[in-house]
């Protein structure tokens, strides 16, 4: 079962999302993701990327490449991380793409509340996601309220 908090984050809580992939020289490319979803049995995590972000990491997206996925709140640094090898890259359907794009709205609102122009800041993520990066089970979520003391959130 997916922890309730992760479901909340996936649906609408306004957490910026990051996906990191190493290149052949072990230097990371890190990009923002538009959204993510997780199967109820935690057997698959899907991370959704717009075309512009996909282009940046596409050369490094080989099967079984290690990835790091971070969900981190702008408001209080509440963070969760998944480290797992890439399993699959797939296209995103139009209907799913529209649904995922609406996830950005709370993030824009949070940014506005910080006194910034949220729409402008996240403009580059407003393109509908075209690709989903799949990571297969088992998925371990690490809660990082303070990364000095990494706690396993749920197994």
């Amino acid at each position: 079962m997916i922890p309730d908090r992760i479901v909340e984050i996936a649906e609408a809580s306004g957490f910026p999302l990051w996906l990191a992939v190493p290149d052949s020289c072990n230097i990371c490319e890190v990009v923002r993701a538009t959204g993510f979803s997780m199967e109820p049995d935690k057997k698959r995590l899907s991370i959704y990327l717009p075309e512009s972000m996909l282009k940046l990491i596409e050369p490094h997206l080989k099967m079984k490449v290690p990835t790091s996925f971070l969900m981190a709140s702008l408001a209080d640094f509440e963070s969760y991380q998944v480290k797992k090898e890439l399993s699959e890259i797939a296209e995103v359907s139009n209907s799913l793409s529209k649904k995922i794009n609406s996830i950005l709205d709370p993030t824009i609102e949070t940014t506005n509340s910080l006194g910034l122009d949220g729409s402008k800041t996240f403009d580059y993520l407003k393109d509908p996601p075209t690709a989903s990066i799949h990571i297969f089970a088992p998925i371990f979520l690490n809660k990082l309220p303070n990364p000095e003391r990494v706690n396993v959130y749920n197994r």
Partner: protein, 113 residues
């Protein structure tokens, strides 16, 4: 390859939106985390606030130079840190352990409005 901080990049150092730091372990596993402060020392150098991370520094697009636990840069970052800290409640510890001084090797613009 661009390795100098330009005027138009300066707002990114204000710390309103936390910076993201990515490292890679020896066996190639990436790690992404927030850092609360990237302090611009000059056009070619930055100091990264070390509050949280204990992991070994591997290849990133900065070159690790030194770690300072006192001095002008450390003190200036501590002042900024207490400003950031005041925006949050007590459950988050914003105590600067050290300022990690780095030379910039490469700057890539991801998005420019």
């Amino acid at each position: 390859m661009k390795n100098k901080i330009t005027k138009e990049m300066l707002p990114a150092f204000q710390g309103v939106i936390p910076a993201t730091l990515t490292t890679v372990s020896k066996d190639g596993v990436p790690n992404v985390t927030y850092v609360s402060q990237i302090f611009r020392i000059d056009k070619n150098h930055v100091a990264i606030s070390n509050q949280f991370f204990n992991k070994t520094w591997q290849k990133i697009e900065v070159e690790f130079l030194s770690e300072e636990k006192k001095g002008e840069i450390f003190e200036e970052m501590e002042v900024v840190m207490s400003g950031i800290s005041s925006m949050f409640d007590d459950k988050i510890a914003f105590k600067l352990k050290s300022a990690v001084i780095c030379k910039i090797l490469n700057i890539k613009t991801i998005y420019k409005p």
